[in-house]
């Protein structure tokens, strides 16, 4: 079969392939593309780091707020109790008069 293979076919295929090769790689372009890729990689890792930091901060703040909520709940309850008890008995001004009068009386 090798003997039947026409040599000009090989030449034609070779020419056809050669005609498709029109460019040559430029080393400067290779370097700048690599630099660009590196830059993107660094940027991406920075963004990734920022995202992780944001998630951690968000979690931490959420946790602290939930802790604070418990304290506030207790405080609100006390102040509500105080406010309710003072206003219902004397009111703010009444209380001041009452306290002043008791001080004068003591003197």
């Amino acid at each position: 079969m090798e003997q039947n293979w026409p040599k000009e076919w090989t030449q034609i295929l070779d020419q056809s392939l050669e005609s498709q090769i029109t460019q040559q790689t430029d080393w400067e372009k290779v370097k700048s593309r690599a630099r660009e890729k590196k830059r993107l990689l660094i940027l991406r890792s920075w963004l990734g780091g920022l995202a992780v930091a944001a998630v951690v901060t968000w979690g931490l703040v959420g946790f602290l707020l939930s802790q604070n909520d418990d304290n506030e709940m207790a405080f609100t309850t006390t102040s509500e109790y105080y406010t309710e008890s003072t206003t219902s008995t004397y009111g703010d001004l009444d209380e001041i008069f009452y306290l002043t009068a008791s001080l004068i009386a003591e003197e």
Partner: protein, 191 residues
């Protein structure tokens, strides 16, 4: 002259002394071969070829010191570019499955104005038949017939035994001749 400097010295000059001139020369020496391999594999899109080659040469510039000279540098690079080319082809095939087949249209080789009709037809038929071959077969034919590599080098580049190269080459030629008949070419000689 730098043109006569053997590959291993250029590689050494680059990897040990970071001599960019040596690397540029080495790259220019093999860039055309790498392009031909990609086109032979069936990567027709110029942009894809450019992107792939730029990444390829950058990767090689960092790893070329691994070449120990067991095979020629051409074979070493041919193995590496083939791997990348096949990966890209697989990705392209996946893409084509999801998109329309417009990109698959055959590239026709324009015949020059004075070209004999017979020759133009032969060129067209050969191109079509060659493109119908399996990429691995195209590559084998390219190394042996178009680049004139030895059976041993071709076997190394393709990772197959030498006997396989010989038998496959013979089968490829038979296949091509059969395809040429299907394309309507009856003679083996130009009129």
């Amino acid at each position: 002259m730098v043109h006569d400097v053997p590959d291993h010295l250029l590689v050494e000059q680059w990897s040990k002394h970071a001599d960019e001139r040596a690397w540029r020369f080495l790259m220019n020496r093999y860039d055309r071969l790498m392009r031909k391999i990609l086109v032979t594999l069936g990567i027709k899109n110029g942009e894809d070829v450019e992107d792939l080659l730029q990444d390829f040469w950058w990767e090689q510039s960092l790893t070329i010191h691994r070449w120990k000279g067991n095979s020629s540098l051409a074979t070493y690079l041919a193995v590496a570019i083939k791997r990348r080319g096949i990966d890209l082809l697989r990705r392209q095939i996946k893409k084509r499955r999801t998109h329309s087949d417009h990109d698959l249209e055959e590239i026709t080789i324009p015949a020059s104005q004075n070209e004999d009709f017979n020759l133009a037809f032969l060129r067209q038929a050969l191109k079509k038949s060659f493109d119908r071959l399996d990429p691995e077969d195209r590559l084998l034919f390219f190394y042996r017939e178009l680049e004139g590599w030895s059976t041993a080098e071709t076997a190394k580049a393709l990772g197959v035994p030498e006997g396989t190269v010989k038998s496959r080459l013979s089968r490829i030629k038979q296949k091509l001749q059969a395809m040429m008949k299907e394309e309507g070419w009856n003679g083996t000689e130009l009129a």
